[in-house]
Amino acid sequence: MNITTNFEEFARQLDIDPVEAAVMDVARALQITQTMNKQAESHYRGLATHVDRPGSPFEDLVDEIYASGSFAIHAATRSRLKRDQHDVDAVLELNCPADSNPEWVIGELYKAIRGERGSKYFDFLIEKNSRCVTVTYPDGVTVDLMPVVRLIGQPERVAVLFHHKRETGDSYHKVVNPKGFAEYFNQHVETSKTFQDRFDARRYLVDGETYVELANRTASNSTRVTLEKADTQPMPVHVPLDQKSARVVALQLIKRFRDKRYRKHDDHRGKRKPPSIIIAAIALDAGPVNDNLVDEVIAVARYMRRLIRKAEEKLRPLEVRNPAHYPDIFTDRWPEARSEQQLWSSDLRTLVEQLETLKRVGFDPAVVQSVLTDLFGEKAGDIALGAYHQAQTTNLEHGTLGMTPSGKLTPAKPTSGLAAPTIGAGVASSGLIMPARANTNMGGTIPDDNCW
């Protein structure tokens, strides 16, 4: 359906509960754009070339680089709602002995990236971590570059990573398969045409363009710099998973919720947060996917709580393995203690309870504002309320907003012939009162010192 030319059909389809729509609006604001995606890829590919350069400690030893973590499963999010910052995880496959000293590998990678004075990354913020080197770009984007060595005679893409933690002296190798997990996830996560259409219709209603239109416009803008318009051909747009799978979008929301809890809540400070890959692996097994995003977040959160409860019953930490490579244990660093999984379980209970409150209360601006901001931080409530009113205005302008006699405004099938001002003319067959036209709230403001 072309919703840009058939608004009537679109409006009928868009019978989305306002609470569901509000959560969709927050999710859309979290997602990274196609431009950010390309920029991220350009960043990590540039780093790989740099590490592979003549004179580098890893000169000609870089076999491959690819995205891992959330980027590889299309669940990446902005690190700040209002900014274009995001974090990228990338795996750097090196051609060096798999039993190399972890401290040496991490250290040499750090030196390779930093380079000599005057080289590209010399003045960037570069940090050694226990398994990766983090490069922070001037625009705030960070790339976590994890060196691995592919293992021969193992299943496809199985590799060994290098762990070295200076503070504790821990140093070891670990067999992993991040590429295998990403491929497994992307093949197995369910998508839904119903969800995709509703998510895209909501985008159109609020932002004025569909995902494909947005992608074409963005591509056209970047191409126009070098080519005459007549020379450009629209490329088929690949619609990523975070536009068509409610489960992937739910993952993005849960990640945002997690980040907010571990950043803003005092009782979380200094504690390791549950890694995204664990949440993603659990989400894959959380049962059939709902078309409703709020229900989907609740279902994934409940399933994760259930797994933690089962582990707690056995007085053990949660164990989650890579479904693409069983020896790869995702939970090797989190939870380190049962208290960590108890904390996260308690967080998930808050998430479920708050979303259920939202569902029960219905769309009430004060509740939407407080709950969404509490769950997802920053301006999540403002974003949802702004989008709600934008959608109402779009519907009003298209004659697809009706009002019940009690005053509830709701999307409606458009009516025609409202121009003749006869008695009862504004009442549609549905019983909704259809405004004759869109209006503009005018008037002035009451200054603070007015004594009214």
Binding site: A366, L385, N441, G444, P447
Partner: protein, 181 residues
């Protein structure tokens, strides 16, 4: 022009739960309830059919909408004022307001040719919805613009009147030119 009698019939048809009082033959006052979200508001709408040819602006003859209960709250220190998109007073009445500003008269969004039931009332519900979001966030997310201030460069009395009328000049409401100084 739609007569007040026709407005009364139409309102009774569309909003049978609303009360209607007729203090004069040309005036009707409706009181009813609107609930855009959870809060139920008691709304008062007063309309006086203009005499022809009165030559008044739509802002002057407009239905005057007040929220009787719960009383509209103010947000002090807000960039958009403590309560946006209202008139504190209106020259057609001695009531103290505030009255909701629901349309742009320059775009003829409302005229006396319009039914109140499918203009003023749904716009009021939408205004209340925007008001609730504004109370929660401090941002007016609905459509809206403030009538351009007319006090700059004008005499003190006009400026005072404009201030009293919540930045909207008396002249804008009555469309009578102020005396030039």
């Amino acid at each position: 022009m739609i007569t007040v009698g026709n407005q009364v019939s139409d309102m009774a048809d569309v909003f049978p739960g609303w009360s209607c009082e007729r203090p004069t033959s040309r005036t009707a006052i409706w009181i009813g309830q609107l609930q855009p979200h959870k809060t139920i508001y008691t709304v008062r709408v007063e309309y006086t059919e203009p005499l022809l040819p009165e030559g008044r602006s739509a802002l002057y003859v407009q239905p005057l909408v007040e929220i009787l209960n719960p009383k509209l709250k103010r947000r002090f220190g807000n960039a958009e004022g403590s309560l946006p998109h209202v008139y504190v007073a209106h020259p057609r009445t001695n009531r103290s307001g505030p009255f909701l500003c629901l349309f742009d008269d320059k775009k003829s969004q409302w005229t006396s040719e319009d039914l109140i039931s499918n203009t003023t009332i749904p716009w009021t519900s939408n205004w209340l919805s925007c008001y609730e979001s504004w109370l929660a966030t401090g941002t007016w997310f609905g459509t809206g613009k403030h009538i351009q201030t007319e006090s700059s460069g004008r005499n003190a009395i006009s400026a005072l009147m404009e201030h009293y009328n919540a930045t909207t000049s008396h002249a804008a409401l009555t469309r009578y030119a102020p005396p030039t100084t």
